[in-house]
């Protein structure tokens, strides 16, 4: 099942400069595995040691997956996965 994955500026160099790419999977874990298959340069960028990189926030549609099921969060057709660097406010 394809979902759209929005990449942050910093990761686009590993995906031929694309802002949005398609990936398949029924969980976030599977989506990221498919991403790495397509773009090996993304290996170890978003997922490190089996968990989300400390300074990366990942959203399925609008929801931060750290407060859902993390990498086991289910995704469905037409969901949008957004990867963003963690930044400060205030």
């Amino acid at each position: 099942m394809p979902v759209d994955v929005n990449l942050p500026t910093i990761l686009r160099q590993h995906a031929g400069g694309q802002k949005t790419v398609k990936a398949n999977g029924s969980t976030l874990q599977e989506v990221f595995e498919d991403l790495v298959r397509q773009f090996p340069g993304l290996d170890g960028q978003v997922v490190t040691d089996g968990a989300l990189h400390k300074f990366v926030n990942v959203y399925v549609n609008d929801d931060d997956v750290r407060y859902m099921d993390k990498l086991n969060t289910k995704v469905a057709d037409d969901d949008v996965v957004t990867i963003l660097p963690a930044v400060a406010g205030g």
Binding site: I10, F55, Y59, Y67, A88, G90
Partner: protein, 315 residues
Amino acid sequence: MAVFDNVLDLIGDTPMVDVSSLSPNPRVRILVKLEGQNPGGSVKDRVALSMIQQAEKDGTLKPGQTLLEPTSGNTGIGLAMVCRVKGYPLKCVMPSNVSPERRQLLEVWGAEIIESPGEEGSNGAVRMAQGLAEEHPDYCFLYQYANPANPKAHYEGTGPEIWRDCPEVTHFIAGLGTSGTLIGVGKFLKERNPAVQVWAVEPPSGEMVDGLRNLDDGYIPPIFIDNNGFDLLDRKRIVGPRDSIEGVRRLRDVGVFSGVSSGAVAAAAIKAAGELDDAVIVFLAPDAGWKYLSSGAWTDDLDEVEARARRINYW
């Protein structure tokens, strides 16, 4: 109306307004706490006063000493007001792409502005301020992102006020910046009623931060880690610029003149109301609309405002 001895005594005790007419569900009430009513114009007055009082008490801030702080705006403005009243010089490190009104307000209070690269966002301001603080050990570096007096202001002020005014609250929703509001209020409300849900809202600000060299340049505020923020929050949602501006306009329609981040939180509260049943949502509006007039949020074409909001840091 009481007569106050000092303008700083006006900080806190802000009003809450029922805006349930915005709720798509008649069984979900929505209330907004208006932090723009603080004398410096934002929720950050609480944090500024709390951090300065603590530093005065523990001796890290001496009479006449210069303060240094990284800020995207409101903390700087709050500090600048408190510093003006108490006679401390203030230097604020702020990204170059904040709204012009933030700069003007810092100038009003006489703070010095040190610009950090806009494309590095607040992370760049934090890094630059940390460097300056190391070079100038004579500065008092309160550092809102790691200062326990930040969440304490909300644990002792904002949280108890919400509980006093609306003990039936089931959901508290606020923006995530330093995490001070969510940590302080969230902790207080959950101690009173563990069933209260604490939801965070954030802008997709990472989209604007093109200046990061790699993901290790990311940033999580130490107060969030120190207070087990990942466990405290029940949910975190992102609200983009377009929904934020629409939120600002929805609030305007019920007579609430709000800032852009308040619009984002309002949009999240309205969406939550559509998904919940029998809930009482309290959300926090950090500031009023004055500082955002140049954004055209209320009057310009929505597409144009959205495009502007992707370039300028309004959060």
